[in-house]
């Protein structure tokens, strides 16, 4: 058998292969026109994978920014809450820092003795420097004493309220808050 003729029909023709070609060639494909239905649904190549990747990246970046913003916001709020206890002026939120500095409520004016100090804190907040906690660290004994003072103040306040209501002839409210704490 001529291998070359079997492979690519070159070289000396092989009689056996030629016979098979002639015989089986009668079964050869007879092309028919391809009838493509008008209603056939051919979808385009899906391009959503790159879009999905881009969306996922954008989502991750957005989430990161949001978390960072939220944590800085939380820090600012905590700092503002600690403000009256410390010497630092109170800050409302970082979203309106100018208002908290420029238009301070009357009740809080006492905490803003020096405008330069306010500005310095504002700059520090914007530049994201590590916020220093100005509140002193109290020992357990000091904390207990502080709690005692607060309870006493509440008790005095309640007693004064009671006396005021008695003087004005209003009905008595038999509730002195926090009385149980002092026994």
């Amino acid at each position: 058998m001529n291998d070359k003729y079997l492979w690519d029909r070159t070289g000396e023709p092989d009689a056996e292969v030629q016979q098979l070609e002639e015989l089986l060639g009668t079964l050869r494909y007879q092309p028919r026109p391809l009838e493509i239905p008008a209603t056939i649904n051919i979808r385009r190549k899906r391009t959503f994978i790159p879009l999905a990747i881009a969306a996922a990246i954008a989502l991750v970046i957005g989430a990161g920014l949001w978390i960072r913003f939220a944590s800085s916001n939380q820090r600012a709020i905590e700092q503002a809450r600690r403000g009256p206890q410390s010497t630092a002026p109170p800050l409302e939120t970082p979203s309106a820092p100018k208002d908290s500095v420029a238009v301070a409520p009357q009740g809080q004016a006492i905490y803003l003795p020096n405008p330069r100090k306010v500005n310095r804190n504002f700059v520090a907040l914007k530049s994201r420097r590590p916020t220093q906690t100005l509140a002193p660290v109290l020992t357990e004994q000091e904390l207990a004493q502080k709690e005692q003072v607060l309870v006493a103040l509440r008790l005095v306040s309640a007693k004064l309220n009671l006396a005021q209501r008695k003087a004005q002839g209003l009905p008595q409210v038999n509730a002195i808050r926090n009385q149980h704490k002092i026994g």
């Binding site: 690519d8 029909r9 494909y29 028919r32 391809l34 051919i42 190549k45």
Partner: protein
């Protein structure tokens, strides 16, 4: 000055002309892209190119009466699923695989009704009909029968089979030779 111009002309005339290099993309890629962009009529070109391949793959597996309809079905299926083809240059291998799967489905669906027409003893080997020889080929292992059908029925050469099916030329060559050897043995055995 005149000499310089003459030299320049000479250089221009004698210099070999180099056209900008054009990288031609395979025709399958062009057609697939065009079809996916809405030119459905261009799919007919792929049908012309790969019709014999699909026909051969099916003829090696399913009854001849069913082959023509299945060829149409397979091409319509391929047209619907064309967007899933990742590499358009591998269109041949892709549609051949669809044809093989469809042939398996055909046998699965009509297992009870398909008659097996084989092992018929032939007294006169020289007067065998095409169908009889085809039956012998169908008794061979998958790889051999497909290659032999494409070679003898569809008239493709070895390199053409390799290019269409995505097989390596070496594999096709081996399949041709081993398949031919087995076919000859089978025909000789039944003839005696």
């Amino acid at each position: 000055m005149i000499e310089a111009e003459a030299t320049a002309e000479m250089l221009l005339m004698t210099g070999t002309f180099r056209s900008p290099e054009i990288i031609e993309e395979p025709i399958e890629q062009t057609i697939v892209r065009a079809v996916l962009e809405g030119e459905h009529d261009r799919f007919g070109r792929l049908y012309e190119m790969y019709g014999p391949l699909v026909h051969g793959v099916l003829l090696a597996r399913v009854p001849r009466d069913e082959v023509d309809d299945l060829v149409q079905d397979i091409f319509l299926h391929a047209l619907r699923k064309l967007h899933t083809l990742r590499n358009p240059t591998a269109f041949g291998a892709w549609i051949a695989m669809i044809a093989r799967n469809r042939a398996m489905d055909f046998h699965r669906a009509s297992r009870e009704t398909v008659e097996v027409e084989e092992n018929t003893a032939v007294a006169k080997p020289t007067n065998r009909t095409a169908r009889e020889v085809l039956d012998f080929i169908r008794q061979l292992p998958d790889a051999y029968r497909e290659t032999l059908v494409l070679r003898f029925v569809e008239g493709m050469t070895g390199p053409e089979i390799a290019a269409r099916t995505g097989l390596t030329p070496a594999s096709v060559r081996v399949n041709l030779h081993r398949g031919m050897k087995l076919l000859r043995a089978k025909m000789g055995v039944t003839a005696t």
